[in-house]
């Protein structure tokens, strides 16, 4: 990041920070050799988003998937273009409600299994309105939520999670 420009006009704001702007040292002495090796920095999008137009973010509400590594308040990255198969964690609508569960194929059809034993399986029956929204590809779990809150400049927003 161009710290030298932090207070200057060309500072793009941290939110627009692409991690790709490679700064050359332009050192007058010895350091200049490193400039020959400068390359594009790491971009999180490369690792986390596989197909941009079909990728959506969701907010996990509740502890239904705790055993599967998804905790209350985590952000789910969901790819709508990927096919849901047996054993995958998916976001689906069940009778008009969006849930995240593990998809299990049974002889009779599908069962949606929670990652927390306190939750019952959802059997997808003949009369269940069931639609797969997409496949959960990544979970963003932020440890230092306090930092996030301070970095959030919107006024009057105390609540961290969606409804």
């Amino acid at each position: 990041m161009e710290w030298d420009n932090l207070y200057g006009a060309s500072f793009e704001g941290t939110r627009k920070f692409t991690q790709q702007d490679v700064h050359t040292l332009n050192a007058s002495g010895f350091g200049a050799a490193a400039d020959d090796f400068s390359e594009r920095g790491i971009d999180l999008n490369e690792q986390l988003i596989f197909n941009k137009p079909s990728t959506f973010f969701f907010r996990m509400n509740g502890d239904a998937m705790e055993g599967a590594g998804i905790e209350n308040g985590d952000v789910l990255i969901v790819d709508k273009s990927l096919k849901a198969t047996n054993g995958k964690i998916i976001v689906a609508s069940v009778n008009g409600e969006l849930v995240v569960r593990r998809l299990q194929q049974t002889i009779k059809g599908y069962t949606l299994v929670a990652g927390n034993q306190r939750y019952e399986n959802i059997d997808v029956g003949e009369f269940t309105q069931f639609n797969v929204f997409g496949l959960v590809t990544c979970v963003i779990h932020i440890l230092e939520k306090g930092l996030l809150d301070n970095d959030r400049p919107q006024k009057g927003k105390k609540k961290l999670y969606g409804s």
Binding site: G8, A9, S10, F11, E12, G13, T14, R15, K16, N51, K52, P53, S54, F56, F57, F58, R59, M60, N61, G62, A64, V75, L76, K80, S81, V91, S93, G96, E97, L98, V99, V100, Q129, N131, F133, R152, P153, Q154, K155, K157, K159, L160, Y161, G162, S163
Partner: protein
């Protein structure tokens, strides 16, 4: 062959992406300011709700029938529109997509074998729906006009496949016989009436007129092109995206009628700020600015809804500029001059025109040292407002409490553009 991909009741479709409970339920979307209905789902249409009707006229029917109502959520619609277009570009290549409007795109399918077009149209439809959750219909024909004809029939006949390919002489003939001239893309109401007077009612009849005839009776070159297109010869070519706009306008209806000069000035200053931001985003500078206001007509008069005659004024800037404060100054003067005490205003707007690349600003003779600093100021302002969202820094002229701002009682969350409005899952 050309295809048109058209989103079905686009805004309603967007509202349903994160609300599966609205599947098969009647939905309507209201315009800016909750003024009138701009998108209706098929279910709402079946209940007798019409497009472009003022909301207050059908409010009772909407509530009685439990029709789900939304204020327009342009953040959401814009995002989903971009996803639809990106999906199409992934399917056929960027150069073969012409984005025609927020919910329509022409595709150039000349590279696809004719035998494969049925399958390909279906693939397009399914992929867009799978990737974005937005439902589309696809019409395909030899030309853009024929693709439009096909697409209209898909919707009118409610074809379950949501696709129609006019890939044979027979299919095209049948489609044209079922299409009235008034429903053709590019034939306005006036020409439709004129054509009917000539005893031309269907697109099929129009197809058999000569180009020379069309040149004299149907608006010259444009009419001749229409005949060519109907005959399966491509005459309306794919257009490149408009890189830079020639004119930038920001206009809004007020939430409630505005009577005070102070409020009018605030509104005009806000629109000027918004327009100047757009101007800088495309690296242009404006040489002319115009302001208009529309006074509200007394209730009961025929033009009550649209408001009365717009009153406008313009100013030429002595050198092209993209600086907000240089634009606000003349805008404020014009607003003051247009204002009349005792009038109630329903709408105001600002238009920037005479746009030139902003690189030419630097050559201004006057003001030569100040300008670079000003541009840095603007850059900084835009960056802060962009990164923080919601104008954090604004001109005092634009006011602080904004009593006149848009009414959006029923807006859904900005699911795809705000961290704190993400859709929730359990």
């Amino acid at each position: 062959m050309k295809a048109i991909v058209d989103c079905n009741s686009f805004y309603c479709s967007c509202e349903r992406v994160f609300r599966p409970d609205l599947e098969n339920k009647p939905v309507v979307v209201l315009s800016n300011n909750d003024g009138c209905i701009i998108s209706i789902s098929n279910e709402a249409k079946a209940l007798g709700i019409d497009m472009a009707v003022p909301y207050f006229q059908v409010r009772e029917a909407i509530e009685k029938n439990g029709i789900e109502t939304f204020s327009s959520n342009y953040n959401l619609y814009g995002d989903l529109s971009r996803r639809v277009m990106d999906t199409l570009k992934a399917l056929v290549g960027e150069a073969r997509v012409e984005v025609y409007s927020v919910d329509e795109a022409f595709l150039d399918l000349d590279h696809i074998a004719k035998n494969d077009l049925q399958d390909f149209s279906r693939t397009i439809r399914e992929t867009v729906e799978q990737w974005t959750g937005v439902s589309v219909s696809v019409g395909t024909g030899e030309t853009k006009v024929l693709a439009k004809v096909a697409n209209r029939l898909v919707k009118k006949l409610r074809l379950p496949s949501k696709t129609l390919v006019l890939d044979s002489e027979d299919a095209t003939t049948q489609a044209l016989q079922r299409t009235l001239v008034k429903d053709l893309w590019g034939i306005g109401r006036r020409y439709a009436v004129k054509l009917n007077e000539w005893n031309i009612h269907t697109a099929w009849e129009l197809k058999h007129m000569s180009e020379d005839w069309a040149r004299t009776h149907l608006g010259g070159v444009i009419g001749a092109r229409m005949i060519e297109e109907l005959n399966g010869r491509q005459a309306i070519l794919m257009q490149d995206e408009l890189a830079n706009k020639k004119m930038i306008a920001t206009t809004r209806m007020f939430g409630t009628a505005v009577t005070e000069l102070k409020d009018i000035k605030e509104a005009v200053a806000t629109y000027t700020t918004r327009a100047a931001e757009k101007l800088r985003r495309q690296h242009s500078a404006a040489s002319m600015i115009s302001v208009f206001v529309i006074p509200r007509q007394p209730a009961g008069t025929p033009s009550y809804r649209q408001g009365g005659q717009a009153r406008s004024s313009y100013a030429t800037l002595h050198s092209p500029t993209s600086l907000t404060h240089e634009l606000i100054k003349p805008a404020m003067e014009m607003a003051t001059q247009l204002y009349r005490k005792g009038e109630r205003y329903s709408k105001a707007g600002v238009t920037l025109s005479g746009l030139v690349p902003d690189s030419s600003i630097q050559s201004s003779l006057f003001n030569e040292c100040g300008n670079n600093q000003n541009r840095e100021l603007m850059l900084m302002l835009d960056n802060i407002n962009f990164s923080m969202r919601n104008d954090v820094i604004k001109y005092a002229a634009a006011g602080i409490d904004k009593q006149w701002k848009m009414r959006q009682e029923f807006r859904s969350p900005r699911y795809t553009s705000r961290w704190d409005e993400l859709p929730g899952v359990r």
